[in-house]
C-alpha cells in the first residue's frame, strides 16, 4: 500500500504537470498512467502530428524549390524512416517527463487505475495490484476519439487520428470526415505527402466556431491543391471492397459516391471516465459526461479534483497543464485558481490558424464597440522572403480605449505568433502598447505590430482604410 498526499490518475499534459508541481511543493505524489507518460498529446496527438507535418511541409517546399533556385531531384518520403524519427521524438519526451517526475520524487505507477473511493485507488501494474491510499485525488484521464454510427473504426480502412499518425505511407485517396482542427491538420499534411483529399463536414464551414475570414484562406488553399470539400454534408454509407471503399455522401446538391483508400474520422472526442467510478464517488458531470469543477479544480466532492480534457472543452494540452498546476497548488494550500483571461489555440493546417480572445463576432455579441484592423502577410518582407505570403493578422480591439480583445491569425507561424497577443491580453494591453513596441525586422510578428498600428489609426505599411 502506497500512502500519498495526491494520487493523479492520468499522466498526460494535465496529470504529469500536476505531478511535477505537486512534488515540487513537497506533497507525496503518485502519477498513474495506463499507457505512456505524456498522454495523447505526446504519444498520439500534438507531438507526433507535428513531426509528420514538419516533414510534409519540407517535402512540399522542395516541390516548388526550383522557383527559389534550389535544385533538388529524387526527393521522396521514406515513411519507415519518418515513423522511426517520430518515435524517437516521442521517446525522448516521454523519457524527459519520467526524469522530471522522478527528479522531483514523484512516484510513477504504470497500469490501469481503478478508483475505489476518493481516498483509495487500485492500480493493476505488471507486477500485480498496487493499492494507493490518498488524501487528494486528481482525475486527469482526458478524452478519447469518438466515432460515428456507420463509421466505426476498423483499424484499417476506417481509422482515427491515432492510427492516422502511424500509417506506413500516404493513402492515394484520403477522406477526412470532420473538418475540425484535427481533420484539417491531417488533410493539409497528407495533401502535401501526395494524397488526394476529400473533406466531409456536417457544418457550414471548416473549423466550426472559428472566424470565417481565416477559415476561408485554408479552405481555398486546400481546394487549390486539389481537395474536394463538402460542407453541410454527411457520410451515408461505406462499401468496402478489399483495400478501398466507395463512400456515399449526402451533400446539399444531392448524393454522390466517392472512391477512397482510407477514411480518417475526426468528429470529436469524449471524456474517458469509465474506470473512475464517478457516480459512486458522487462526482458530478455535465450532460456530455465531462466532470464539472470550480475554477480551483474542485469537483463536487471535497478532495477530488479534475483537470484537462476530462473537465471539458476546449480540449487543449496547454490548458490541461495550467489546470494541473492550479490543482497541485490548491491541494498544497495555495490560493491558485484558473483566472486566466484567455486560452490561445492553434491549428497546424496550411496556412496555420491561431486565435486568442474574442473574435469579431463574439466581441460584438458581448456588447463591445469593436474596432477591427488587419494586416496581410503579402505586405510583410519576412513573409515574402520566406515564400509564405498567404494570410493575415486580424486585431479586434475596443473602439473607445483600444484595449485588445482578441487576435486571429491565419498565415505562416501563426501558432508561434499568437503567444505575444495572449500576453498582451493578460496584461490588459492596448493596440497602442503593441504598436509602440519595437518588433525586430524582418520577422513575422511585425504583422501584429502593423495591424495594431492600423488599429491605432496610423498604419505604416498599408494605406489607411
Amino acid at each position: 500500500m502506497i500512502e500519498a498526499d495526491v494520487a493523479i490518475v492520468g499522466g498526460g499534459p494535465g496529470g504529469y504537470v500536476c505531478g511535477i508541481r505537486a512534488a515540487q511543493l513537497g506533497l507525496k505524489t503518485v502519477v498513474i498512467e495506463a499507457d505512456r507518460l505524456g498522454g495523447e498529446c505526446v504519444n498520439y496527438g500534438c507531438i507526433p502530428s507535428k513531426s509528420l507535418i514538419t516533414v510534409s511541409r519540407l517535402a512540399d517546399k522542395v516541390k516548388e524549390a526550383e522557383r527559389y533556385g534550389l535544385k533538388a531531384s529524387g526527393v521522396s518520403v521514406d515513411f519507415v524512416q519518418l515513423q522511426k524519427w517520430k518515435g524517437e521524438v516521442i521517446s525522448r519526451l516521454v523519457a524527459g517527463i519520467e526524469l522530471l517526475l522522478k527528479g522531483y520524487h514523484a512516484t510513477i505507477l504504470k497500469g490501469e487505475a481503478e478508483v475505489v473511493s476518493k481516498d483509495r485507488v487500485i492500480v493493476t501494474t505488471d507486477q500485480g495490484r498496487e493499492e494507493i491510499s490518498c488524501k487528494n485525488l486528481v482525475l486527469a484521464t482526458g478524452t478519447r476519439t469518438s466515432s460515428l454510427p456507420g463509421l466505426e473504426f476498423d483499424g484499417d480502412l476506417v481509422i482515427g487520428s491515432k492510427e492516422g499518425l502511424d500509417l506506413k505511407g500516404a493513402p492515394k485517396r484520403l477522406m477526412v470526415v470532420g473538418g475540425g482542427a484535427i481533420g484539417l491538420e491531417f488533410a493539409s499534411m497528407f495533401q502535401k505527402l501526395g494524397s488526394v483529399i476529400t473533406i466531409v463536414e456536417i457544418m457550414e464551414q471548416l473549423l466550426p466556431g472559428s472566424d470565417l475570414d481565416l477559415v476561408r484562406v485554408v479552405h481555398r488553399k486546400l481546394e487549390a491543391h486539389g481537395a474536394r470539400i463538402y460542407l453541410k454534408s454527411k457520410v451515408l454509407r461505406i462499401d468496402k471492397k478489399g483495400s478501398e471503399a466507395t463512400v456515399e455522401v449526402e451533400t446539399p446538391d444531392g448524393k454522390i459516391n466517392i472512391e477512397v483508400d482510407k477514411i480518417l474520422v475526426s468528429v470529436g472526442r469524449k471524456p474517458r471516465t469509465e474506470k473512475l467510478n464517478l457516480s459512486a464517488l458522487g462526482v458530478e458531470t455535465d450532460p456530455r459526461g465531462y466532470i464539472t469543477t470550480d475554477s480551483r479544480m474542485h469537483t463536487s466532492v471535497p478532495g477530488v479534483y479534475a483537470i484537462g480534457d476530462v473537465r471539458g472543452p476546449p480540449l487543449l494540452a496547454h490548458k490541461a497543464s495550467k489546470e494541473g498546476i492550479v490543482a497541485a497548488e490548491v491541494i498544497a494550500g495555495m490560493s491558485s485558481a484558473a483566472d486566466w483571461k484567455v486560452i490561445p489555440d492553434a491549428v497546424f493546417c496550411d496556412p496555420e490558424v491561431a486565435s486568442v480572445g474574442l473574435t469579431e463576432a463574439k466581441a460584438v455579441e458581448a456588447g463591445y464597440k469593436v474596432k477591427r484592423s488587419r494586416f496581410q502577410f503579402a505586405a510583410l518582407g519576412r513573409a515574402l522572403a520566406a515564400g509564405e505570403p498567404e494570410g493575415f493578422v486580424k486585431v479586434i480591439s475596443k473602439e473607445e480605449d483600444g484595449l485588445v480583445l482578441g487576435v486571429q491569425i491565419v498565415g505562416p507561424e501563426a501558432s508561434d505568433l499568437i503567444s505575444e497577443v495572449a500576453l498582451a491580453i493578460e496584461m490588459g494591453a492596448t493596440v497602442e502598447d503593441i504598436a509602440l513596441t519595437i518588433h525586430p525586422h524582418p520577422t513575422f510578428p511585425e504583422a501584429i505590430m502593423e495591424a495594431a498600428e492600423s488599429a491605432a489609426g496610423r498604419p505604416i505599411h498599408q494605406l489607411k482604410s
Binding site: 481516498d119 464539472t292 466532492v301 494550500g333 490560493s335 483566472d339 483571461k341
Partner: protein
C-alpha cells in the same frame, strides 16, 4: 480532506457581509461550533461557528473584505477520510451544503484589468479583485491597489490623498492617523446618512416630571434584584410608550414608498440604541406590550451584553418598529436623534436631574428630564407628534396609570 467553508445565508435579504474578525489563523486547530468568524452585515454583526472540526488551511476572505453569500471564505482540512458534505451551519438558516461548483471554463475575469501577477497577488492576499478599484489608466488595478485593499482601505492611496488634502501626498503625517472605515462604523455611517437623506426629520422636545417614576423605580428595584435583573428607567418608558403607540398608530409605522402605503404595525418591537466599543448597535425587544417590566429589564440587559460582545444574531436586531436612545447616564439637556429608518420615530431620553419646577403657582424641586422625539414628517405631523409625546409623558408622570401598564 479539505472543506470549503462558504459564507452561509445569514438571513433574508443579506447577500454579503464584511469579514470583521477571524477567530482562528491559518494552521490553527478548530472545533466544530466554536466561534470562527465575525461577519458584519448591513444589519448586524454575526458570529458564525466553525462548520467542521479540523485545521485551518487557508483564509480566503481577509478581515475587512466583503464576502458574498456562498463565497468560499476559508478552507478547512477536516482530516476525515470520507467526509461527506453536510449541512453547514447549525445555528443559522440551512444553506446549500457544498453546492456543486459551477463549471467555469471560460474567462472568469475578462473585464478586470490587472496583470496575471497582480491577479495572483490578490488571490494570495485573499482579495476579491473584482471589488478593487484600479488606480491606473482605464481602471487598471496595480499591486499597490490590491495591497491597499487588503489592508482595509477600499481605495488606493491616491484617492485618499485627494479626498483628504494634507501636506503629505501619501498617507497621513505624523500628527494624523488613518482609520479604515469599516465594520459597524461603516454601516452606521451609511445608514445614518441614508436616513437623513431620504426622510424629512423634525425633532420635538418636551419636559417630563420624573419624580414619581424615580420613586416607583426605587420601589421595584428590590424585587427586580431578587429576580436577578437590574431595573433601569427604560422598561418603564417602554411601558409608557405602548398605550401611546396604540393611540397614535402612525408613530409605530413605516412608509413603503414603492407601494405608496404607510404600514401601520400592530406589534410593538422597541429598538434600544446601545453604545458598544465598535459603535452604535440597536438590538430589538420584541412584543413589549406582552411583557412586564422585569421581563423587559432582563431582555434589555441580555441584549446589551450580547451587543457589547458582538454576539447579536440578525433576528435580534431586525423587525424594530420604534427606537429608544438613552444618553441620560452621560448628561446633556436634549438632542435631535436620527430616526432609525425605515421606522418613523425615535425617542431620545436624557439626564434626569433635580430642577426647579412651578407647580400650583409655587416653585418646587422635582426630578425632571427632557424627551426628544425625532420623527419623519412625511408620515407624522408636528401636532400629532406633540400629542403623542404628551401622551407618553402623561403616563410617565401618572404612577397609578403607569402601574397598570408595567405589570
Amino acid at each position: 480532506m479539505t472543506y470549503s467553508f462558504k459564507l452561509p445565508d445569514i438571513g433574508e435579504g443579506v447577500s454579503e457581509g464584511e469579514i470583521l474578525k477571524w477567530m482562528a489563523n491559518v494552521g490553527d486547530q478548530i472545533k466544530e461550533d466554536q466561534p470562527l468568524v465575525e461577519i458584519m452585515t448591513d444589519k448586524v454583526n454575526v458570529q458564525i461557528p466553525a462548520p467542521r472540526t479540523g485545521k485551518v488551511l487557508q483564509i480566503l476572505a481577509k478581515e475587512g473584505e466583503v464576502a458574498k453569500v456562498g463565497q468560499t471564505i476559508m478552507i478547512i482540512d477536516d482530516g476525515s477520510g470520507g467526509a461527506q458534505p453536510s449541512a453547514e451551519i447549525a445555528t443559522l438558516k440551512p444553506v446549500q451544503a457544498a453546492a456543486p461548483p459551477q463549471p467555469q471554463q471560460g474567462a472568469p475575469s475578462q473585464s478586470i484589468l490587472a496583470t496575471p501577477a497582480t491577479r495572483r497577488l490578490a488571490r494570495e492576499l485573499g482579495v476579491d479583485i473584482s471589488l478593487v478599484k484600479g488606480s491606473g489608466a482605464q481602471g487598471r488595478i496595480t499591486d499597490d491597489d490590491v495591497k491597499h485593499f487588503a489592508s482595509g482601505s477600499p481605495t488606493g492611496p491616491p484617492t485618499v490623498a485627494v479626498q483628504a488634502p494634507r501636506p503629505a501626498a501619501h498617507g497621513p503625517g505624523p500628527r494624523e492617523e488613518l482609520v479604515p472605515l469599516r465594520g459597524v462604523r461603516k454601516t452606521i455611517s451609511e445608514r445614518m446618512l441614508k436616513s437623513l437623506q431620504t426622510t424629512a426629520q423634525v425633532t420635538h422636545v418636551d419636559e417630563a416630571d420624573m419624580t414619581e417614576l424615580v420613586l416607583l423605580r426605587e420601589a421595584f428595584k428590590g424585587s427586580a434584584e431578587k429576580r436577578g435583573v437590574h431595573l433601569t428607567f427604560i422598561p418603564f418608558i417602554i411601558k409608557a410608550l405602548v398605550p401611546a403607540l396604540k393611540e397614535f398608530p402612525y408613530v409605530n409605522s413605516s412608509l413603503d414608498e414603492q407601494s405608496g402605503n404607510i404600514v401601520l404595525k400592530k406589534y410593538y418591537n422597541i429598538g434600544i440604541a446601545t453604545d458598544t466599543e465598535q459603535g452604535l448597535v440597536v438590538p430589538v425587544v420584541r412584543d413589549v406590550d406582552r411583557k412586564d417590566i422585569f421581563e423587559l429589564a432582563g431582555e434589555i440587559e441580555t441584549l446589551a451584553d450580547r451587543a457589547r460582545k458582538a454576539q447579536l444574531t440578525l433576528d435580534e436586531v431586525r423587525g424594530g418598529t420604534f427606537t429608544i436612545t438613552n444618553v441620560g447616564a452621560i448628561g446633556g439637556l436634549f438632542a435631535t436623534p436620527i430616526v432609525n429608518a425605515p421606522e418613523v420615530a425615535i425617542l431620545g431620553l436624557h439626564k434626569i436631574a433635580k430642577r426647579p419646577v412651578v407647580r400650583d403657582g409655587k416653585v418646587e424641586i422635582r426630578d425632571t428630564t427632557y424627551f426628544s422625539l425625532s420623527f419623519d414628517h412625511r408620515v407624522v405631523d408636528g401636532a400629532y407628534a406633540a400629542r403623542f409625546t404628551s401622551r407618553v409623558i402623561e403616563t410617565v408622570q401618572d404612577t397609578k396609570k403607569l402601574l397598570s401598564e408595567v405589570l
